[in-house]
Amino acid sequence: MCKAQISIRGLTHIYHPGRPGERIALQDINGDICQGELLAIIGPNGSGKSTLARHFNALLLPTRGTVTVDGLSTTDPANRWEIRCRVGMVLQNPDNQLVASVVEEDVAFGPENLGLPPEEVRRRVDRALALVGLGEQRLRPPHLLSGGQKQRLAIAGALAMKPSCLVLDEPTAMLDPAGRREVLQTLLGLNREEGLTVVLVTHFMEEAVLADRVWVLSGGRLVLEGTPAQVFSQREGMQKIGLALPGPAELAWRLRSSGWPVPDGILTLDDLVACLAGLLSETGWGRRQ
């Protein structure tokens, strides 16, 4: 059951309205983000993913329509700081969002801004660092951390505000594969074990597969939504907007269309391996010739 945490109604965003360079970035977006879900937002470059994500914590305000967080409208300036506390955000470039030169000081930045007493700041910092597995690194300078660690640090910085929702804008785009895995594991853990709502903006299809639901943006519109299985069954629709299926889904589709009894809904490599191994040993794989 979906208990809407963030509600978007008729959201349109226009950059520089009425001035040269006017550009419609988002057009009539409607949808709810449910409490505790992991939502992936995908789309080609320039489709409006980041612009949409920045509406969730009042960094950007709608040109038309509304965005509400737990019933609080982002357009009301009085709600802004409350919303920022409830919706934490992590940006793409880990280097440009770290404020301090020591790991734990950076995590403390948010709570300090809230004017919390030092002991409470300390508690939150320790907990946030433990949640992302950086407790051991707390006295190191951030620039000596790996990309994945830096991004986990940025997540800890957001967690220290005690948000109930975490929005991440392409957090893995600048990381190597190991860093990407690290960050995804952390996010999955936070979502599954801590019950945090996670909104993951990404251009990696393999990441979207891990989500409960997927939104697909193209040209500023929400063109597809559903579970990963539903969304990635729309091969043609995806191709039309310049997105490829995740590799395993693509291969499953090809085999299926040449007559193999491969079921729908294969998304990950695990799915595919299990399916093929079962299928082929049943039908006498390897015993041919």
Binding site: Q97, P111, E112, P118, L139, P141
Partner: protein, 266 residues
């Protein structure tokens, strides 16, 4: 990558000086710098030199590190010495062509050289042993009394924090851009003045564009975490003086007093 120790670099450690309260370090550093400026007697220099050696020892700094801190300044240091040597009127010791090296020049040049060296060492010790964050926390705390006069201590401190956090990044970026443009055949250090100035365009345009982009992103990142200009922040680390700090403050005060005394009554 950093090529060597850049100015203002913090080197983490657990030495006596590292563990001092940052306010102590700022105050002591200020006192010692003042002492260097008023010092004009050999005895004063002796005291200051002794103080410097103690400080270097207390920070566990290797002579090699001290040299690498001084290296960027060697042109200025040598130039000052040479100018003083040749252009101070007085008793000629020996001649190099038309120029005379004077005794007064030697003394004066030596003094200035030593003063500059001490100044560089003191300020470098401060930044080598104090994390930028502690430094700003200390400044914030020291400036707090001025708040009543309308000085925005918190915001000044935040500006410092960010400047310190990003100076190394920008230096690194500048290095990167220089390399990138050199890879396209740009030459930064040849030709006449106009050519050299024009040669800087490929460096400066991307550098500024990059700095603005970073600044924008950082502002966003700070806003996300509820930073508000003028709002009251708290600090996770409360600064506290310990016995160590009093010893150092008294020591630095004594050095300052001694140089003053030597100058006016010595």
């Amino acid at each position: 990558m950093l090529s060597g120790i850049t100015l203002g670099q913090y080197v983490p450690g657990r030495s006596f000086i590292h563990r001092l309260d940052p306010r102590t370090k700022i105050l002591a550093c200020a006192m010692l710098i003042l002492a260097v400026l008023v010092c004009n007697r050999p005895a004063g220099y002796a005291i200051l030199t002794l103080g410097t050696l103690l400080a270097l020892g207390g920070a566990g700094t290797s002579p090699r590190l001290v040299m690498s801190v001084l290296r960027p300044f060697w042109i200025i240091l040598t130039l000052t010495l040479v100018l003083q040597l040749f252009f101070t009127p007085g008793l000629a010791l020996f001649a190099l062509g038309p120029l005379h090296v004077t005794r007064e020049g030697l003394v004066l040049g030596g003094q200035i050289l030593w003063r500059l060296t001490l100044l560089i060492i003191f300020s470098s010790l401060l930044t080598l042993t104090t994390s930028p964050l502690m430094l700003t926390a200390a400044l914030e705390s020291l400036l707090k009394p001025l708040k009543r006069l309308g000085v925005p201590a918190f915001d000044l401190a935040m500006m410092m924090t960010i400047a310190l956090r990003f100076i190394p990044t920008l230096l690194q970026e500048a290095q990167q851009i220089i390399k990138a443009q050199q890879s396209r055949g740009a030459v930064f250090s040849r030709g006449g003045l106009t050519r050299r100035v024009r040669g800087l365009v490929p460096l400066l345009v991307p550098l500024f564009a990059g700095a603005f982009r970073r600044a924008e992103e950082l502002a966003t990142a700070m806003e996300i975490r509820c930073y508000r200009v003028g709002a009251n922040r708290t600090r996770m680390h409360q600064l506290r003086y310990s016995r160590r700090d009093y010893i150092v403050l008294v020591g630095a005060g004594a050095v300052l007093a001694a140089t003053f005394a030597l100058r006016w009554w010595g």
